[in-house]
């Protein structure tokens, strides 16, 4: 392979101003998703914000969706890419149902399918700019995993994306345990989401929590968390600062 060929190939791969054929930056993005395993299945939480850079532009974005009978997906990152992923998954589930036999794709299968999709896109230098959480229950087995835009995947008893990894996971490492009840699980997730609300600039105070159990998928109506701002340090913040107002 001579030098001239590889140079032009590289140019094609990495692109130039001329090509609008691949994702270069994300535009409308969702922030953290946090999920935990609990006694009956999976609980997953995400707020309903779609940021446009630093503007908190859209406030009714549903970032949690059911997948087939057994799974739920939560996405952070580029919302349009999430919509594309949903189209892939809807088609996957459709073909699975069309077999009309006693078999169905469980959360493990969906998670691995997504990993293949994300990794293959990454290899073509045209990623789906998302971090995904995939959870579900099938035949009594609980499953919870995550996959990133570069195709890194893993499973755990609690996962999060983005800021959730830095702010929520430490709380979960301390306070998560096997066989949380539904109420305990929700409380734990709300604690994580509250910290994210205080500290993540792209968080909005409108969230949904979804659960998936052997029976199926349910998602809460959007609601807000109570916050507390009455700290002494917040009163008269400018006292002692010459020249501020």
């Amino acid at each position: 392979m001579n030098f001239a060929d590889s140079a032009s190939a590289m140019k094609n791969l990495l692109g130039s101003e001329g090509d609008s054929q691949r994702t270069l930056y994300p535009y409308v993005t969702g922030t953290s998703v946090v999920a935990i395993k609990y006694k009956d299945g999976i609980l997953i939480a995400a707020d309903m914000g779609g940021s446009y850079g630093s503007t908190l532009r859209y406030k009714t974005v549903e970032r949690l969706k059911p997948v087939g009978k057994h799974s739920v997906i939560g996405a952070s990152g580029e919302i349009s890419d999430f919509q594309e992923i949903m189209r892939y998954l809807d088609e996957l589930i459709l073909y699975d149902n069309m077999w009309d036999d006693g078999n169905s794709l469980g959360p493990k299968e969906v998670h691995n399918y997504l990993t293949r999709v994300m990794y293959n896109r990454r290899n073509k230098f045209n990623p789906l700019w998302n971090s995904l959480v995939l959870g579900g229950v099938k035949n009594g087995q609980k499953y919870l995993g995550t996959v990133s835009m570069i195709g890194v995947q893993y499973e755990d008893s609690h996962v999060a994306t983005g800021f959730g990894n830095h702010l929520a996971r430490p709380i979960l490492r301390d306070e998560w345990h096997e066989n949380l009840t539904y109420e305990e699980g929700v409380k734990l997730l709300e604690k994580c989401m509250r910290v994210l609300l205080y500290r993540d600039r792209s968080a909005v105070n409108k969230l949904q929590i979804a659960k998936i159990t052997e029976e199926g998928f349910t998602i809460s109506q959007p609601y807000s968390l109570k916050t507390f701002w009455d700290f002494a340090a917040f009163k008269n913040p400018t006292v002692g600062a010459e020249g501020s107002w």
Partner: protein, 285 residues
């Protein structure tokens, strides 16, 4: 079946609505050496007769492992069978790679059947000349399927294909109702008995047969010659009658099996009223 003016192309219908080339392909299956499959709730056993052409040559491989949870026994044009086995292995491995999960047998056989059907509707192709007994496990338990050159597939409790398979089928028809709850050992025994029926008096030894099994917690594998010969010896010592009572443990078989032999004809009479669709071969279109 005699030669006629409608049998040259696979894409020519006869006035009676038959595709003769496809039927001729099914004849090729009947000419191959016997292959037998049976299943219980948890296991599937595949057994076949491996006769070498001459003393100098080795025998043809007729049982293929497709994946840890699926195996296939073939009868007919073994070359076609090999190629289809490669296709099946490919499908299984691709599914496993994408979904980290074993391909359900039921889906594999449909893909196989669709592949066979294509060859019945293209003027530049010919039907595969091989019948496949596909045994495997999936979510809903153990399954045994038979795939035809016609592109049809059927699920069975037990089945036999190839030459002199009718003898084996007669045996299986008598016993199939007991297979569902059969133990692993008894299932293998029944496979050996059925195989022996196809030999028409010739001595059954482990050098002319191959037995493979797949089950819950047991990956598909072929039993080695010693094990098979051991099992054959066990029931040949007892006497020629296959046990009528499945509850009799094989180790203590010696005295009790001979005593139970008279019960066999009675059990067979009771089995006569069994539903005809299981274990019966609708081989013809």
């Amino acid at each position: 079946m005699f030669r006629n003016q409608y049998d040259t192309d696979v894409t020519t219908w006869s006035p009676a609505g038959r595709l003769f080339q496809v039927e001729y392909a099914m004849e090729a299956v009947k000419q191959g050496s016997a292959a037998i499959g049976l299943r219980s709730k948890t296991h599937v056993v595949l057994a076949c007769v491996n006769k070498a052409n001459s003393e100098l040559s080795s025998h043809q491989k007729k049982i293929f492992k497709v994946d840890d949870h699926i195996g296939v026994a073939i009868a007919g044009l073994t070359a076609d069978g090999r190629v289809l086995s490669r296709y099946m292995r490919n499908e299984c491995i691709n599914y496993s790679y994408t979904y980290e999960s074993p391909l359900p047998v039921g889906r594999l056989v449909v893909q196989l059947a669709d592949k066979a059907q294509v060859c019945t509707q293209r003027s530049w192709k010919r039907p595969y000349g091989v019948g496949l007994l596909v045994g495997g496990l999936d979510e809903s338990g153990a399954h045994l399927y038979y795939n035809c050159p016609s592109g049809n597939y059927f699920e069975y409790q037990a089945f036999a294909i190839g030459s002199r398979s009718q003898a084996a089928k007669t045996y299986l028809e008598r016993k199939f109702e007991s297979f569902v709850d059969s133990s692993r050992e008894n299932l293998i025994k029944d496979a050996l008995f059925a195989l022996r029926e196809t030999l028409q008096g010739e001595k059954l030894t482990s050098s002319i047969c191959t037995i493979s099994i797949v089950g819950v917690g047991e990956a598909f594998h072929t039993l080695d010659q010693e094990t098979v010969q051991g099992l054959i010896n066990e029931f040949e010592v007892v006497g020629e009658e296959p046990p009528a009572d499945e509850a009799a443990p094989p180790e203590q078989g010696a005295g009790t099996e001979a005593a139970l032999a008279p019960a066999a004809p009675a059990a067979a009479a009771a089995d006569e009223g069994a539903p005809a669709d299981q274990g019966v071969a609708p081989m013809d279109i």
